[in-house]
Symmetry: C2
Subunit: 323 residues, 2 copies
């Protein structure tokens, strides 16, 4: 049995808002966001449900941090600087104070890491599974947001980091995949459990990338979102897809893993387009992020994937839809 | 069985965002709120759970409208103009398309009535009860928000409308209370089911009210929030509490109903303080809202209630805490 709602807010959530004056100490009817005179507020929100989006026996601090980070990744894809967030929790009576303490510790850790604060929220009880919602607010100069719809034929397609680690990590975490080297398994599982939102990179790509999305649904799906919104198409070369050492080793043993890498989701890297390859090279050097050109935008609708020999590859699952 | 998440968003939620360019057609990773150069964004959020906050057999359009309205009431209490909202739904597979259509029709109706639009959200599945979250955004000039903390000794305490109808209406709706006149029962139940957030009044009280809250937890509790935040106290005269005809008739038959009226919650009227009674009279005439002086702020902590004879009255339940 846990504390009552009022005590919960006071004990667990008010300290998360202590550094943010706009939260008004969580004591008023609403919170105040104060963008600068020429700034827009970027809003993104995600809900996760115990038993659907997480199993329930994960470490509560990792659940908290992943929930913040998937939202931070959305802000990054628009080029916004993280600013504040609101949190809605529907908790069954079975949730213990220990669980909540660990959950809040996770929020606290990532508040420090990403310089965001709790602005407000709601805490209610439920007779069903835990349902957690984070709504994240970012700031950017008015009109500077990077949309999905700006890609033009001739632009190059880039991705940050390596692809597929999140989706392969999910299989490791679920016990469906084990690599020869235990450390490789642990590395992939960690990529799934704790995404690295590309916050600084997203901000740096404002005014540089013509279109951008974060890779949450899967690389092919999210590039698909970009080309659809932009009214263009893209051709991608598998030979250029950046892979981690464990992912490359898996594909070496069985090329079936390509599908997981390209369609599996949960990468939380950025996919973006730009007509100027040297501009992206400069961003890569400045930010220290690996940015790889993996294809090119053309005028024919859809995303085409080519293998090493230039042959078109088809995948059964597009990864386009997810819950 | 309902549609998939993607189809749901396209069929039901995208039309709610059609009139709001900042929603980016619900096709991007985030939405854009664009306050004016000297405006703040006021944020409030509420989560409701089937089986906890509503029974489940209510008309879905009323569930939708009430959820929007309790948030609109919070904006009103800060003096903010409604602007946009985000919606997070966790839906069991048993939710039918009919239910969703009616739910969306309710949102649509109140979007028109209160000039707000859907900016974004998330739609996920759950194995438990339906969980619904609305986060509402309002605008106001920077620094113009009416806080709970501004009440000073000597200020008068005012309320809008009549008190207790929501709490009495809940008892009618739950079948615990029936009035002699069926129309009276229906009137009270309607006040419970469909609050009237005092949006225009809240905006008009900016710069006039020294402190303000909406009455959601109960009049005594919400006035208690104000005096606590302001470091003052208040004395309230029961004789001055504005009552609807059905509420007055009930109290006439049994004074026990005073407790429900003063502590019961769900009024969604505004309680506010001001040192200038004539200023509030002018606001009442301009807005056409009944605004009643019910007491006065003093320097002794706590809220004291006096009966007709000036005797102090105590209530068992403060209504201070709710889920």
């Amino acid at each position: 049995m846990g504390k009552g709602e009022f005590e919960r807010i006071e004990a667990y959530f008010a300290p998360l808002a202590a550094g943010f004056t706009g939260a008004l100490g969580l004591l008023d009817d609403a919170a105040i966001l104060s963008p600068g005179p020429d700034q827009s507020v970027v809003v993104t929100t995600d809900t996760i449900v115990e038993g659907v989006h997480y199993i329930g026996d994960e470490s509560p601090d990792l659940i908290a941090r992943k929930l913040l980070r998937v939202n931070l990744s959305d802000l990054a894809s628009m080029g916004a600087v993280p600013y504040a967030y609101t949190l809605n929790v529907a908790l069954p009576h079975s949730v213990s104070d220990d669980w909540l303490e660990a959950f809040v510790a996770g929020l606290q850790a990532d508040q420090r890491e990403f310089a965001v604060h709790l602005a407000g929220g709601d805490s209610v009880s439920t007779r069903g599974p835990t349902v957690l919602t984070v709504t994240m607010y970012g700031l950017l100069p008015r009109g500077a947001e990077v949309r999905r719809s700006g890609a033009a034929a001739g632009d190059w397609v880039f991705v940050s980091g390596t692809l597929g680690d999140g989706a392969l990590g999910l299989k490791v975490a679920a016990g469906e995949l084990a690599l020869d080297d235990e450390r490789d398994s642990a590395e992939l599982a960690d990529r799934y459990r704790l995404p690295r939102p590309r916050t600084a990179l997203g901000v740096r790509l404002r005014g540089v990338a013509s279109a951008m999305a974060d890779i949450s649904d899967g690389f092919l799906a999210d590039l698909g979102h970009i080309v659809e919104a932009s009214g263009v198409g893209a051709t991608v070369d598998m030979a250029d897809i950046p892979l981690s050492r464990p992912a490359a080793a898996l594909i070496e043993t069985d090329p079936k893993w390509w599908e997981t890498v390209l369609s599996g989701g949960d990468d939380y890297e950025l996919v973006f387009t730009c007509g100027d390859r040297s501009a992206i090279e400069r961003v890569s050097i400045e930010t220290g992020m690996a940015l790889t050109c993996v294809g090119r935008i053309d005028s024919e609708a859809g995303v085409v994937v080519r293998d090493r020999d230039g042959q078109r590859v088809r995948f059964a699952k597009s990864g386009y839809r997810h819950n």
